[in-house]
């Protein structure tokens, strides 16, 4: 008999009803709301005459449309206040726990889920945000959903889903100098493409994954959706249980032991079968930087900007041409040395304490280039407090960086914080799409250390030289 994968074990347990044709009615253990889709969805539940099924499994935090200006209130970005005010009101009326601005526990939804122990191994977790796959780093089945699906979960605590195929990706070896989890996942996306994982639940495995602390695992899983995979996950292990123990909503005492005993049954069986498998040699991964307008447009920082003339097919040739045109880059030139205007260190990809430490390590004792505007936006109140306790905020401000309040900010620019038109940004976020950081803004995705290095030198820089 073939064994089961981590994914199958969690999926199968949550099937309330088999709907046929590969579809299942799945129970949802955690529904995480944010300001952009949360208030609207709660309003629609009310409007359609449904009841909120399980308020105790529903949590909310405003992150998308809030200003990150120091000293901000919900009214600093007025359009966002129009979403947050009803979210506050409805959460209170319906008994949904809201982690509000300035409160302990507030932050980007994909940072606070694990941070508070809301996200646990073996859970099904949804949120109206595609980067929900982040929580898969704990061994959870977590995925982003649309507004209608969100209303469905609020009203029924279940979701109709079609079972995806399974993909396993092994990262073998260890991190080379200057290489981070962000570089691992960008390299993978460059290898298999932005649709390489479409239709799959991805499991990351291999010696390099096992050696990664949880924060790095979140970064890896976070970018699963950038290769098309709605779900990315990593089997829980002792590092996972150590990470969870003592967190606010995590089980305590005997309940914790019982939970760990269950979690130990989750990792894929040795004889489990996958529909697709890839193997990545860590020795081949150098620090990465994107050059175009899709996360698959990525190269090692010491390489040249690709020439559309050598694109593998006509479709990609025209996509590469359009991307170079939008980005204002010349094919064949080294990408290193490209002058930049902005640096953004933040987002659900890279705003955890380890990210800020890695960036501060590069920045310490240096100054940002005079022409660069550099922002650091911590992922949560707790990340911010921890960084301040370690003096990281002063490392950044002494170098001329802005130290801001938690939120999604310039990752998707839904809060009025944008990179100005035609300006070039090195960003630790997850998408370099056309207009993502603002109309006509040019984005290069990279790790926190690479972003910090770019801020110091004022140009795209190989962090290994710093």
């Amino acid at each position: 008999m073939t064994g089961k994968t981590l994914f199958d074990k969690i999926w199968d347990r949550h099937v309330v009803a088999d709907l046929g044709g590969g579809f299942a009615l799945l129970h949802i253990d955690r529904n995480l709301l944010h300001d952009l889709s949360g208030a609207r969805a709660l309003g629609e539940v009310e409007h359609k005459g449904y009841r909120l099924a399980r308020p105790e499994l529903t949590f909310a935090t405003p992150d998308h449309a809030v200003s990150t200006l120091p000293g901000r209130t919900s009214e600093t970005f007025a359009p966002g206040h129009k979403l947050l005010a009803p979210l506050r009101r409805r959460a209170k009326d319906l008994g949904v726990r809201l982690f509000d601005l300035g409160q302990d526990g507030h932050g980007i939804v994909h940072i606070i889920g694990p941070e508070l122990g809301l996200s646990l191994p073996g859970l099904t977790i949804v949120c109206g945000d595609s980067h929900t796959c982040t929580h898969g780093g704990l061994g959870a089945l977590a995925f982003g959903i649309g507004s209608s699906e969100l209303v469905h979960v609020l009203a029924t605590q279940t979701l109709v889903q079609r079972k995806p195929k399974r993909m396993r990706i092994d990262f073998d070896g260890s991190l080379m100098p200057g290489v981070t989890p962000k570089d691992m996942i960008l390299h993978l996306i460059g290898t298999i493409g932005t649709a390489g994982g479409t239709g799959f639940a991805v499991e990351y495995a291999g010696s390099a994954i096992r050696a990664l602390p949880l924060e790095g695992r979140f970064t890896i899983c976070n970018l699963s959706i950038e290769m098309g995979a709605k779900m990315g996950m990593i089997a829980p292990d002792d590092l996972t249980y150590q990470f969870i123990e003592g967190r606010d909503f995590a089980p305590k005492g005997a309940a914790f032991d019982a939970a760990v005993a269950h979690w130990r049954t989750l990792p894929s069986d040795d004889n489990a079968v996958y529909d697709a498998e890839h193997r990545i040699d860590m020795a081949k991964i150098a620090p990465q930087i994107t050059w175009g307008t899709s996360p698959e447009h990525v190269i090692a920082v010491d390489k040249a900007i690709p020439d559309p003339a050598v694109a593998p097919d006509e479709n990609r040739r025209s996509a590469w041409k359009a991307a170079l045109d939008y980005q204002g880059l010349e094919p064949g030139k080294p990408i290193e040395g490209t002058r930049i205007d902005w640096v953004f260190i933040g987002s659900c990809t890279n705003s955890r304490i380890s990210d800020l430490r890695a960036a501060a390590h590069i920045v310490r004792g240096r100054k940002k280039a005079a022409h660069v505007t550099a922002w650091v936006v911590p992922g949560s109140e707790r990340v911010k407090k921890q960084a301040e306790a370690e003096g990281l905020d002063r490392v950044f401000t002494a170098a001329g960086f802005d130290w801001r309040e938690p939120g999604c900010s310039m990752c998707l620019a839904s809060n009025g914080e944008t990179v100005p038109p035609m300006q070039r940004s090195v960003s630790t976020s997850n998408r370099n799409f056309v207009g993502r950081q603002g109309p006509r803004a040019r984005t290069h995705l990279a790790s926190p250390a690479m972003a910090a290095a770019a801020a110091i030198s004022g140009a795209i820089t190989d962090v290994r030289k710093m």
Binding site: L57, P251, L412
Partner: protein, 206 residues
């Protein structure tokens, strides 16, 4: 949700790959606007020039394709963000179906929640449809017959497409999932009662 049975109309070739949902609708538009107000902002980054005037190179700004109800696209259409606003914006622009080789998973699900039909055909077929459209601008029409699961090209070629029977039926009937799911109320309650005893730590959130 409106029923979808058969659609005949102009199909506009937007033959790019990886058209992401950020390009379909900027997130900032979803902060201030309602569902039915998004049409004017659909594809704004490529539809308008920096000065706000129409970009004449954008396919849906060109005479035969303006107001087209069908969009032809490259692979991985609707990749990226989960924003359902991308579907609402396309519908606001009058688009009722997309024909592309593949789709972003979340976008694909969102389409079925709103009655926008995403048809998957091999790239070569989508490209042939685009060529036939370009060959007879102004007169060419594409038909999508959901009941028979065929696309009929401007030259009358019939191309069979696959769709999950469950999703097909929901589109034909114009039904969303919630009312169907609520018929499983007892099974959901029973599952939850069992889980509270099997995995109490999942439920100890108060």
């Amino acid at each position: 949700m409106d029923k979808f049975t058969r659609l005949e109309g102009v199909a506009a070739p937007l033959m790019r790959q990886n058209v992401d949902t950020d390009v379909v609708i900027r997130i900032e538009r979803l902060v201030g606007l309602q569902k039915d107000e998004l049409g004017p902002y659909c594809f704004e980054a490529i539809r308008y020039r920096p000065d706000g005037s129409e970009n004449p190179d954008f396919i849906l700004n060109q005479a035969p394709y303006r107001g087209a109800p069908i969009l032809l696209a490259g692979d991985n259409f609707g990749c990226g963000s989960s924003r359902e606003g991308a579907v609402w914006a396309l519908m606001g622009l009058g688009i009722k179906a997309v024909i592309a080789p593949s789709y972003g998973d979340i976008f694909f699900n969102n389409c079925f929640q709103n009655g926008l039909l995403p048809v998957a055909l091999p790239l070569a077929e989508v490209e042939r449809l685009a060529e036939e459209m370009r060959a007879a601008p102004g007169n060419a029409r594409v038909t999508i017959d959901l009941e028979r699961q065929v696309v009929i090209s401007p030259r009358g070629r019939e191309i069979k497409f696959e769709i999950d029977p469950k999703r097909r039926k929901a589109m034909l009937d114009g039904l969303d999932d919630i009312s169907m799911t609520l018929t499983y109320k007892d099974q959901i309650a029973a599952w939850q009662a069992q889980d509270q005893s099997d995995r109490p730590w999942v439920w100890g959130t108060r």
